[in-house]
């Protein structure tokens, strides 16, 4: 399901309020390769907002 502008705004506000990193994870989370959107094992790149909503589906509401 595509992420609409309102949801994106809501996610960005939540990130700011909660002090998360840009991927919605705790600020000092460390990732294999440094980026959770880019799976080095597969081609392509996940959408940042989709990634956040997959982990926090309640933000869709």
């Amino acid at each position: 399901m595509p992420v609409n502008e309102e949801q994106k705004k809501k996610i960005d506000e939540w990130i700011k309020k909660a002090g998360r990193n840009e991927y919605g994870d705790p600020a000092d989370t460390v990732y294999a390769g440094g980026n959770p959107l880019f799976d080095e094992r597969k081609p392509g790149l996940k959408d940042r907002y989709e990634y956040i909503l997959e982990k926090y589906p309640e933000l869709r509401k």
């Binding site: 390769g33 959770p36 880019f38 080095e40 094992r41």
Partner: protein
């Protein structure tokens, strides 16, 4: 020469020296420093927007000073009200502790207070991710703001207290020593050929297991039989490894394959052996391993449940020339597997810091970290500094952000940050770049082409549950794949006797193939062949190290009266001290220490001349100045002047030249003064 003239010349010389230091100042000021986490404390997981994160308990990482005692721990607990627990069983020596603060504000206040405490080396917020296994409630007490989880936190605290009480009852103290150091696998054990059935294992459709017919066939009954002249391994997939040709791996193999060097892979683990957790990856049968640790699950089996770490380890030391799969760059190096990232590819800073210290304490000479975060961690930085001080080369992936901005830990100045290039030699689409990039290495680029042949091919265990085919050969792409290329070449360099991390970095960068655009490629693209050649030249005995003792011996044996033998002996000692002093000094302070700026300057000669200006001492001072001048010239000529080349680059040229000129001038002046005082051989004049 009149006294006023001499005074004027000396003043001019001092002014010139001062001016020559001017270009160093901006470089020095721009040295990357970050202030320890001004980051806002954050909570974990949760019901997201509906959650008031500030009301949650927060975990804190506390890295105590190495000389902190159990009494200090108790005192800190009493002063702060925190309950400190070790991060892992390996934290006892390094005093890496965790504690839970009741809420965000308290955590922030406590972290600030702890950072001021002299018993504390570093303190940081630790925020954890959620995996809903019950045991994680113990290891990761910060979790959902639900009554169940809060109850679990209480339970975990009680459990931790009980464990601590049991430890104390068993006589465990914080002075507990680390387990016995890791011992590399016996390097004399020959490679063994793979079992025949392994050859029938499925392979990806994109790759051929059969070696191309034009490839020379090596009949190796005992495994690794690469020779100085025939360095092409018989691994069937070797032809697909374009990245090995890009860095000139075969050139390097004529000299070394990294035998005896221990490389720690801090990652998702490595499928190094068949254990309860899984099977050994098929092309690691003869790869040497040393004991590692799983910091995620707190056990001694760092098996890879993701596939990332095994792939990374494969680039470094996959079993090579064994008629199976693909090759590794430093395939005689020993891997130390350290698991800090979960099956989902995430990790936490305390575990990473713990793993870095584990590696440094257990004999690793190179660390590869193909992981990162946009946020710096003071606790990780302290661990990096600790490892670097112990002589460990730390190589890190720059990150896959598709934009400018190198992640951490790669951006720490102690790390060698690696960006990634594809088969064309151009910066990979996904690669992060920035001024911290030291050099680039092949990491594959399949983003645009979608062709696995443009990726980095190695054996790994990619779980079927995550879209893989289990134990097989996979083309991955990323700076994670580029970093182990540089770590492997660092291992090759170390195997040639160059072990100082600053010198290893210097060799990697100055031997790289220049590519322009330093922010993207650093010094250029990694070159294994050039790096090993340079390391061999620098690590081995040098002509000047032979010539100087010969001159000293001649000085002692030939000419002069017996009465002045003591003076000649002192002069011989002085010229030797002047010549070798700076090299001994660097061994003491490290190649990237700022003190080298003085150690490799004319200052020691000036001091010698000032102290020994009377009587026969002036001869000794002249000899010392001459030895120092020759050392500066030799190091400058060979491009091996430490600190200046490693840290300041071209900005140090005026400083080096000025000091070199001053050292020779001083040597001449002291000789002239001695000649005036003691006379010269017949037929020469002092002026």
């Amino acid at each position: 020469m009149k006294k006023t003239t001499r005074f004027g010349l000396a003043t001019l010389g001092i002014a010139a020296l001062g001016l020559s230091a001017a270009p160093l100042v901006p470089v020095w000021l721009s040295q990357k420093e970050y202030s320890a986490a001004d980051s806002v404390p954050t909570a974990v997981n949760g019901t997201a927007a509906a959650l008031d994160v500030r009301s949650l308990p927060f975990e804190i990482d506390i890295d105590l000073a190495d000389d902190a005692t159990s009494r200090d721990v108790l005192a800190i607990e009493r002063e702060t009200g925190l309950d400190l627990t070790l991060n892992s069983v390996y934290s006892a020596k390094n005093r890496l502790m965790r504690a839970v603060a009741p809420n965000a504000e308290a955590a922030r206040r406590l972290v600030e207070r702890l950072r001021e405490d002299p018993r504390v080396e570093a303190a940081d917020m630790e925020v954890l991710y959620s995996i809903p296994e019950p045991w994680l409630a113990y290891r990761n007490p910060v979790a959902l703001n639900s009554p169940q989880v809060l109850a679990a936190i209480e339970m975990a605290r009680e459990q931790a207290k009980e464990e601590r009480a049991q430890q104390i009852a068993q006589g465990v103290t914080f002075e507990t020593q680390m387990p016995e150091g890791a011992v590399p696998q016996d390097p004399t054990v020959p490679f063994s050929l793979r079992a025949p059935e392994a050859a029938d294992a499925p392979i990806p459709s994109n790759f051929s297991r059969t070696a191309p017919s034009e490839a020379p066939s090596l009949s190796c009954e005992t495994g690794n039989c690469l020779t100085e002249t025939d360095t092409r391994p018989n691994d069937p997939l070797y032809d697909q490894q374009w990245n090995f040709r890009m860095i000139g791996a075969e050139d390097a193999w004529k000299t070394t394959r990294g035998k005896g060097v221990v490389v720690a892979v801090i990652d998702t683990g490595v499928a190094a052996a068949t254990t309860k957790k899984g099977k050994q990856a098929k092309d690691f049968g003869v790869t040497p391993f040393v004991k590692g640790y799983d910091f995620v699950n707190d056990d001694a089996d760092p098996y890879d449940d993701h596939g990332h770490g095994t792939h990374v380890a494969g680039t470094i030391s996959e079993s090579t020339n064994n008629n199976e799969g693909a090759a590794g760059i430093a395939h005689e190096a020993t891997i130390m597997p350290l698991k800090v990232l979960s099956a989902q590819g995430w990790g936490k800073s305390a575990d990473i810091a713990d793993a870095i210290r584990f590696a440094a304490d257990n004999g690793a000479q190179v660390i590869n970290m193909s992981l990162g975060s946009s946020q710096p961690s003071d606790v990780i930085h302290k661990a990096v500094k600790y490892a670097r001080k112990k002589g460990v080369v730390i190589v890190c992936a720059a990150g896959n952000s598709f934009r400018e901005g190198v992640g951490y830990p790669a951006a720490f100045p102690e790390c060698v940050a690696i960006s990634s290039v594809g088969p064309s030699g151009k910066l990979a689409t996904y690669s992060s770049w920035g001024k911290e990039v030291a050099l680039a290495a092949p990491g594959g680029d399949m983003v645009e082409s979608g062709d696995p042949k443009d990726g980095i091919l190695q054996n790994t265990v990619f779980p079927e549950s995550q879209g893989g085919r289990g134990d097989d050969y996979y083309a991955f792409q990323g700076t994670s794949m580029a970093s182990p290329h540089a770590a492997a070449v660092a291992a090759l360099v170390v195997s040639q006797g160059v072990t100082d991390p600053a010198r290893v970095r210097d060799i990697l960068t100055k031997s790289a193939s220049p590519q322009g655009e330093p922010k993207k490629y650093g010094a250029g693209i990694l070159s294994a062949g050039n790096a090993v050649k340079t390391a061999t030249a620098e690590g081995g005995p040098k002509l000047r190290h032979v010539v100087l003792p010969m001159l000293v011996t001649l000085m002692l044996l030939a000419g002069g009266s017996r009465r002045r033998f003591g003076v000649r002996l002192a002069m011989a000692a002085a010229i030797t001290a002047g010549f070798f002093g700076p090299d001994l000094f660097i061994g003491w302070v490290g190649a990237d220490s700022a003190w080298n700026l003085l150690g490799f300057s004319v200052l020691p000669a000036v001091a010698a001349c000032a102290l020994l200006r009377r009587g026969a001492g002036v001869k000794v001072a002249a000899a010392f100045s001459l030895g120092l001048a020759v050392n500066l010239f030799a190091n400058w000529h060979n491009g091996t002047l430490p600190f200046t080349t490693a840290t300041f680059g071209d900005a140090a040229v005026p400083w080096t030249a000025a000091n070199l000129a001053a050292a020779f001038t001083l040597a001449y002046a002291a000789t002239w003064r001695a000649a005036r005082r003691f006379g010269l051989p017949r037929g020469t004049t002092a002026d």
